[in-house]
Symmetry: C2
Subunit: 297 residues, 2 copies
């Protein structure tokens, strides 16, 4: 497994493996991450290995997507463990740029996806999705993959990047992969390590709320507003949970459906809906979501 630390190294390795520009014959799958790999990341890598000749992993904690009061500094890092896991998984190359490699000068260029990036996590974390869209656009230009893999835990990120690649005619397919969960339902996230034991116990409330909604939708007609109330009520059963949002949105546009419309009707008319949650436990912010797609009905 090759470790590449600069843009030139990365491209040279790709070119040497017939996967960049002149003489490209191999397909490349790309899994961009912020490291501290868990089974969710591993499932993206496995999918990439199935779909492509070569799989490239990147590990870069991107300062651009953290707000000034957020956890950039303390974001968990364990490069050696990540590299061992990647090697075991059969990753072909890892791109490990420093902040100086990615931003050698103050960057003046921003890629912005309006509307989708302005709600939910975008509203709570101003500039977050600009940072995501900009760094992913850079990484896609550096690695030039045929496919890039993202987990649906970050559904809004998936939506922002799918819109970006479509709008800008980037020739990389954005592949959505299912959220991986602990046995008790907690969505895997590098940030789960921040949780105290008590918070960890109560953190199962996110997935439990989504399941409650899913069950209710099978039993009764629910308006969008009723669904959101049900989610909030369910979340409030965990005393430590501070709700940031609990909303139903269209997917992948993240539009706001009419609050009085019946969720089942909207879905039956062909619109995919997403219930999206962001909940804080102390200073730790957790997100989760569930998709209710027409073909599930």
């Amino acid at each position: 497994m090759r470790r590449c630390y600069t843009v030139e190294d990365m491209r040279q390795w790709l070119a040497d493996n017939n996967a960049y520009k002149f003489g490209k014959t191999k397909t490349v799958g790309f899994v961009p991450t912020m490291g501290y790999l868990h089974d969710g990341h591993m499932s993206l890598l496995e999918q990439s290995k199935q779909d492509n000749d070569l799989t490239v992993l990147s590990i870069f904690v991107n300062p651009l997507q953290f707000g000034p009061s957020e956890d950039f500094e303390r974001y968990p890092r364990d490069e050696e463990r990540d590299l061992r896991l990647a090697e075991l998984c059969g990753v072909d190359a890892v791109f490990l740029p420093s902040v100086e490699v990615m931003y050698p000068h103050k960057p003046l260029t921003t890629v912005r996806v309006s509307a989708i990036a302005d709600v939910l996590c975008g509203a709570s974390r101003p500039g977050h999705f600009d940072g995501v869209a900009t760094v992913v656009s850079k990484l896609l230009h550096i690695v030039s993959p045929d496919r890039a893999y993202f987990g649906m835990k970050d559904a809004q990120q998936v939506a922002v990047l799918t819109q970006m690649t479509a709008d800008l005619n980037l020739d990389t397919a954005i592949v959505r992969c299912p959220t991986l969960r602990e046995e008790d339902g907690l969505a895997l996230s590098s940030r789960n390590v921040y949780l105290t034991p008590e918070e960890r116990d109560q953190a199962t409330v996110l997935y439990a709320s989504l399941q409650t909604l899913q069950q209710s939708l099978k039993e009764q007609r629910l308006s969008v507003a009723q669904a959101e109330q049900l989610l909030a009520a369910s979340l409030r059963e965990a005393p430590l949970a501070i709700i940031e949002y609990a909303e139903v949105r269209t997917f992948p546009r993240f539009g706001q459906p009419s609050p009085h419309s019946c969720m089942q009707d909207i879905i039956q008319q062909g619109t995919t809906l997403l219930a999206a949650l962001a909940v804080k436990f102390g200073t730790t912010r957790l997100i989760d979501n569930m998709v209710y797609a027409p073909d599930r009905e």
Copy 2:
């Protein structure tokens, strides 16, 4: 010469000619234009033919880079003439997308280059360079050229696009080509056809002012402020000229040099300066510029 009207057509032609992704062996030079070709465009095409195996021209009047009160509707168009000229010049393929091909849905994604794009033409035409950066980013993703050619008449555009490709790690070289001029010095522009005979006579004042400054710089030390005064005074000799700006800037960052610093000193210390003009004649807006680079001294 192949005419391509859709993104798929364009990429298929490139792939068929070993110039896109798998099996790429040929270099591609790209000249994006808004059509109504003049000798300035032709010089870009000639340069591209010298440097690359294949040359692609695009013709697209991009609504995104025109303000609501600007000349998008009346911008001069003559596709048949453009195609004849391109064929004569030996262009290999022309990309002629419609607005629907470039923007099939309301685009949500914007590429923004701050600072450089906010001054001079960017200040006079809010959103203009966002439109330019966004459409050029799309075109570069569609055509995937090794080199893209732009004329220095639009020096600020060159600076914005050079910054964008560097910041976003786009693997296309932005090649600057010199401004072409009429015999009397007027910079070639598709918009010159808007000028009345009287305006056309007086439009030579832009280049004359830049030459006056160039001559003065050989004869005497001039502060930045003095240089700008000299440009403005020289422009005012044309009674129909309405000055939008006449400024000295650093190139390619378009920073503002200290007004009291001596231009010759700044240049000798290794900073390239640019004198940039925008002048209206009636409703027609003309721009021109001259670069004063350290190695010219």
